[in-house]
């Protein structure tokens, strides 16, 4: 039998546990899983865990940790207890996400054209003009289907039964979808009996959906079937595995900048037959590096002149350059207004309440309550450069306060959320137990001829007891995420 690490009552303070209710009874979607868990024993589970590790390592499902030369390829810890969402919960999330990505694409179109939202006084002009993520080069350009953000990973956290909040929108080059797919593959291999007892919505169609999405935004000058390619910075990139995985699953070429060239006003890749035209490039390289002629001149990763070709309608870049203006953490605070402005609807999914240090009154409030807040850099990602007030020492708080005071526009602050918890396998004494661990959720959204949302997404879990940081670069792990069908 597995030991339960004081599961549920009082274990995680005021956090909402997704498996057990306040009386310690399994909630409806978890009933079958909880019964299965209760019947497991530690040594079987340990053996399965080893099988999973071997499987992931053999497949090379690794990621690089920057600044850690010794372990340049590491496994992301995989927790084998799936996270379960009921069909109704998922329908709600799906509607909210669709509304949100529709509004954000409308916002991007507007920002790079008439800027009506600024004229209407909803978003202040300086939030855009002075923002490093705003690309003036994109002004007046109409991307195919007027879509800017095609591939999106919306980060969602839960604090209660219906309490879902969007934490980040991730409209640039979100990663993690390969882990979602591999986690499902691993679970089906390790625990077939669990799938027999649940109706789990399939996710295997994601690569097809990605392909359809990319094909649907081919440039106007492409007649016939468009040629797609995935552009990677190379094998040293932390997400290289995913780049290769997606290209492979879609059956398209994985290219680096040096495989591409521009000739006769079109983009080509160098093949064994000579050159071959590329129509849609799913680029996994940041805006600044895609084109040394137009952006960072030191970039060796991109293709000189690529952006001009894009503007000329000869190739589609996915996502469009300049989408960062809509997932910037300073803009994030305005997303509810943005949704209302473009859709005329109330937001289905709420933001986490956010204070902008750029606004003096809000900044003063942040500095006064630093020990209770999470403070993030406006342009940071991956959990780097962020402060978690309740877990910081006095010294760290003082240092961070000084940094905020020196450059307030660079920070936003949010209350520390009591992220929901899910059961995870944990060490318990010398044995194995089950303990509640905080999780978030990144569903993957595709926007092309229509909006496609894969049921579930990637659940990230903070495997350290009590920790709220789920980023893999900071020791977080992942789980398979199940959406149950009715």
């Amino acid at each position: 039998m597995l030991r339960k690490e004081a599961y549920a009552v009082g274990a995680s303070a005021n956090a909402f546990d997704e498996m057990l209710d306040a009386d310690g009874k399994p909630r409806a979607p978890y009933r079958a899983l909880a019964a299965w868990l209760a019947a497991q024993n530690g040594s079987d589970i340990r053996q399965k865990q080893q099988e999973a590790d071997t499987m992931f390592r053999r497949l090379g499902i690794t990621f690089a940790v920057y600044g850690d030369a010794a372990a340049s390829e590491r496994l992301i810890p995989f927790d084998m207890i799936p996270r379960v969402l009921a069909a109704a919960e998922w329908r709600f999330l799906e509607r909210g996400i669709q509304q949100r990505v529709r509004a954000l694409n409308a916002f991007l179109y507007d920002i790079y054209h008439q800027q009506e939202i600024i004229r209407a006084g909803v978003v202040p002009a300086e939030m855009i003009a002075g923002n490093a993520a705003f690309l003036p080069e994109m002004m007046g350009f109409d991307p195919p289907r007027n879509i800017y953000a095609h591939i999106i990973g919306t980060d969602i956290v839960r604090t209660g039964d219906g309490g879902f909040f969007v934490l980040e929108d991730n409209l640039r080059t979100p990663s993690g979808v390969s882990y979602m797919l591999e986690n499902r593959g691993a679970m089906m291999r390790l625990f077939p009996e669990l799938f027999a007892g649940h109706l789990v919505a399939p996710i295997e169609q994601y690569p097809d959906m990605l392909r359809q999405t990319l094909e649907s935004v081919a440039p106007a000058d492409c007649d016939g079937a468009p040629t797609l390619a995935v552009l990677t910075p190379g094998t040293f990139n932390s997400a290289y595995f995913e780049h290769a995985f997606l290209a492979d699953q879609m059956g398209v070429e994985l290219v680096t900048g040096s495989d591409l060239m521009i000739e006769d006003g079109a983009l080509y890749m160098r093949t064994i037959r000579g050159r071959e035209r590329v129509h849609v490039l799913y680029r996994r390289i940041d805006d600044a590096f895609i084109d040394p002629l137009n952006f960072n001149p030191d970039s060796m990763l991109g293709v000189p002149g690529l952006f001009d070709l894009y503007r000329a309608g000869k190739v589609t870049l996915v996502n469009a350059p300049g989408t960062g203006i809509a997932d910037d953490k300073a803009i994030y605070a305005y997303v509810p207004e943005i949704i209302q402005f473009y859709t005329g609807e109330k937001p289905i999914l709420n933001n986490v309440p956010t204070m902008r240090c750029a606004v003096p009154e809000e900044c003063a409030q942040v500095l006064a309550n630093l020990q209770d807040l999470v403070v993030k850099e406006v342009h940071g990602s991956g959990g780097y450069g962020m402060l978690i007030g309740p877990h910081a020492s006095k010294m760290e708080l003082r240092r961070f306060a000084a940094r905020i005071a020196a450059n307030p526009g660079n920070y936003i602050a949010q209350p520390t959320l009591a992220l929901s918890t899910c059961p995870a396998f944990v060490a318990s004494g010398t044995g194995l137990g089950i303990g509640p661990r905080h999780v978030d959720l990144r569903p993957f959204v595709l926007v092309g001829d229509r909006i496609r949302v894969t049921p579930g997404g990637l659940t990230r879990v903070a495997l350290k007891k009590g920790s709220l940081v789920v980023n893999s670069s900071q020791g977080g792990g992942t789980k398979d995420t199940w959406v149950l069908e009715d």
């Binding site: 390592r57 497949l59 090379g60 070429e253 680096t256 495989d259 890749m269």
Partner: protein, 314 residues
Amino acid sequence: MLGRTAASLFWMSRYMERAENVARLTEVGYRSALTPDSGGGHRGDWQSVLQAAGCLKGFEARGFPLTADAARNYLLFDRENSSSVMSCIEIARNNARSVRTAVTREMWEALNSTWNEFAALAPGAVGPARLPEILDWIRQRTALFRGATIGTLLRDEGYHFSQIGAYLERADNTARILKMRYSVLLPNSSGEINDRSAYQWETILRSVSAHRSYRHFYQESYRPHHIAEFLVLRQEMPRSLRHCCDLICESLRHLVALTEGGESCVTFADQRFGGLCNMKVEHIMTSGLGAFLDGFINDTGELATAIGAEFHFL
């Protein structure tokens, strides 16, 4: 298919083949060190093993003593030796990793787990006692990779680039082994077969895992010109120059059909290697086995360069 992808598949297979050949040569060195020498003590053959593996210069440049430990370590584990088994597996894996989309999951798993397990070996822990086990393991792993390739890889251009890489390496390896030891196959003045020459012939055959198949094929004891024939001209022998060249030419013809390019490579290969099917071993022996092998090694190098240029490897 990208030119870079073709190049990576070519080198991936070439280096896996080399890993296997280096392991086999190491085994020859190991056996030789266990065999009593007619002059007393044990035979020590590490110098010729290093030479056959193309590693002697690098080994000497590093100033290592010519001992079994040093040679074994250099051949198996030294990352600065680009032909060590460790380097070969790593280079093969890096090539596969850069073209993950072009190799199957089975191939990648075979390569990646080999790399993971081999890199975890502590060289110091592999003394003479564990050496045979490690060498067996390397051959099993390279066989697994080859089996995964043949069993799962789509028969498109990628497969043929991979085949060409493997067979060019194998042909080159057999030619170099022969070249290093061919003098023992030449008729000597006395015409006598002594214990020493029989041992050396066995060593040649063993270096290409042919000591048993030779007997099955010829139904006789070792005879030098049959050994030369077996390794150069017999299409039945999977490591002979003829067999390798047949497969290289076959894959090249597939590539021409698939890509409508590369005819010049086929012409070149036909010109240089086409003669192997009608050649008589007596003819090679009279006109000079050494010169023949030099010419062959040179031709395979030129063909590799021509393929790289024709199919945009860079």
